[in-house]
Symmetry: C2
Subunit: 356 residues, 2 copies
């Protein structure tokens, strides 16, 4: 049915459509389950989860789907501490803190996200999830080796040809080529993303030519046209995040849903103002101010502690100006459907173009 | 043969492949002629030409091809003069001028490029070229009306959905949707391009949905895969610049050719350092320094007068550090062929994907 079965065959899925791992306020297991049951690959962003939470989530997934699923982890390092940068950051944030009446001091010493460690690896070796994926880097050799030994299929994100080659060399089974258009965090680990930013249409064929493993296209794919385009470029599958944000199963705020259903191509901006790493989302006065300062940001993920009070205020008060509404450049193509219907319509649209 | 004939039919060409207008040191008529004779649409960048030169070029084109061809014009305004910005610019340029031994003062009062005016329009009405295209804006109503009356097919560049809608409303016959990946000058006229930058894969379907006229995809299309992808996204044709730069007919410097044949995805940068408008080309110490200053640039096209001594030095001395090698993010896909062979191989590759 699909012209390229490198991904559907390896993952044992009907449609080569991966629901990209995302992290929202509420658990995304219901979305991932629906996607996996509909013949796609459901994913769970595990970066903010404890060992216990990951274990529980996998139990939930296995209870509700016989299909494969993907657990995603961040490969960031422990953040550095730079007093001067933190002080500058606070100075720039003060006017915003004032506006929302926040009088506390954010924690600049404690990282709000665990680093992927051997304890988590050990759990994964016990659970043996069908797919494990990584963002922000290359898993260490013992991680790759042991996960493959228990049968996990490994994926990781590249934003340049160089990063893709590094992941291929490291034994990753499929490379997610994430283009400039993508919403959320750039997976970059070897490049200054603000300076480079390769578009999906340009990145995918160059990565396909450079690596031995299947390539999954990500970034700006909003409907069946984007999927068919990704296949034309040589991809064996697609990873879509933004398109799934308006699924009926997706627990986003009303503001976020509203912004997506009224989105325009020019809405978004790539900024470190949210987490300390480049992340694409709807522009707001805070992100625009911070970008225009052209100053170094507090390290990822400590920067979350600095932006956190704004986000909390935005959500508590339904105030769009202070929420971080992450999405990509093709959000205007979003539809509000249940995830089963979305997977079906995406596959139909793509196949109609590919097999006219 | 091609699934979509909106462009091939309207332009009376065999392949919906437009050789994008470019401006190099030497005339590009031989390239445009070869492309038009091979069944594509050859283009001539006329922004730096006088009335007499355009007239002569059209005579040359008509003498050598029965196919249609495209004359491209810039729609910039007369540059403003800002003494403070010019003084800052000179200060930042001084270290570079010193390195190359340039001791003059660039002309900050005279624009090096003519603005498109009624005299040029009058010539075009006499010549009635098959296709006229515009960059950097919307032609005035009397320009659109009179050119259409003499049978010219009109195209213009949009980099956002909003720009595309404006061009559609203005009566343009086909919209060139130019994505972030494209080499050379962004055609933006209603957006702050540094902040937005929509990728081709994201831009094309959104523009297709927003306008009534055919859409031509541009930016990052390097081979048949990119062409097939553009069609999957809903485009009726493609505009390729970088891919034609290494044609045997293209008069580029040996350095430029060498850089293209060894290009990497991460080579390029969008910068105003060359002309005053955002323009994608190979990073060099000058463009990187200027970008990192985050300061306003002298207006387009007066900025050419400031960067000109560096470019001249770079070319005269075969010094890559001071040349402005314009190309897009997919230059690594470039091939060194004659233009006839390139058109044929591009069409074959694309059709093999589209009609497997």
């Amino acid at each position: 049915m699909w012209p390229q079965t490198a991904i559907t065959g390896l993952l044992n899925i009907k449609h080569p459509i991966i629901q990209a791992p995302m992290i929202l306020q509420k658990p995304l297991a219901p979305l991932a389950i629906t996607v996996s049951n509909a013949g796609g690959l459901g994913s769970l962003g595990c970066a903010e989860m404890t060992i216990e939470e990951v274990e529980k989530a996998v139990t939930t997934l296995r209870k509700n789907t016989d299909g494969p699923f993907n657990l995603n982890f961040f490969l960031h390092k422990e953040p550095g501490y730079n007093e001067q940068i933190n002080r500058q950051m606070l100075e720039h944030l003060m006017p915003f803190y004032k506006k929302i009446g926040f009088t506390g001091i954010p924690d600049s010493r404690t990282s709000p996200l665990n680093v992927f460690n051997d304890e988590m690896l050990s759990l994964l070796l016990d659970l043996s999830p069908p797919v494990v994926s990584f963002h922000f880097g290359v898993p260490q050799p013992h991680v790759v080796k042991s996960l493959k030994q228990v049968g996990c299929f490994l994926m990781a994100t590249a934003t340049t040809v160089n990063e893709a080659k590094i992941l291929d060399q490291a034994g990753i089974d499929a490379i997610i080529a994430q283009g400039w258009e993508a919403g959320g965090h750039r997976g970059s680990f070897e490049t200054n993303y603000e300076e480079v930013g390769i578009g999906t249409l340009s990145l995918v064929p160059q990565v396909v030519d450079a690596v031995r493993v299947p390539v999954i296209a990500a970034g700006g794919i909003g409907d069946g046209r984007g999927i068919a385009a990704a296949f034309a470029l040589g991809a064996s599958g697609v990873s879509m995040g933004t398109a799934f944000l308006t699924c009926l199963e997706t627990p986003i705020t009303d503001q976020h849903r509203g912004a997506l259903l009224n989105a325009k191509d020019e809405d978004t901006q790539l900024s470190r103002a949210f987490s300390g790493r480049p992340c694409r989302g709807k522009k707001n006065p805070y992100s625009e101010t911070m970008i225009n300062l052209h100053q170094p940001f507090t390290d990822f993920p400590t920067m979350y502690n600095f932006s956190g009070p704004l986000k909390k205020y935005g959500i508590d008060n339904n105030d769009l100006e202070y929420q971080f509404l992450l999405y990509g450049q093709s959000a205007s193509l979003n539809r509000e459907l249940n995830a089963t219907a979305l997977i079906e319509v995406l596959a139909e649209e793509a196949l109609a173009i590919m097999r006219p």
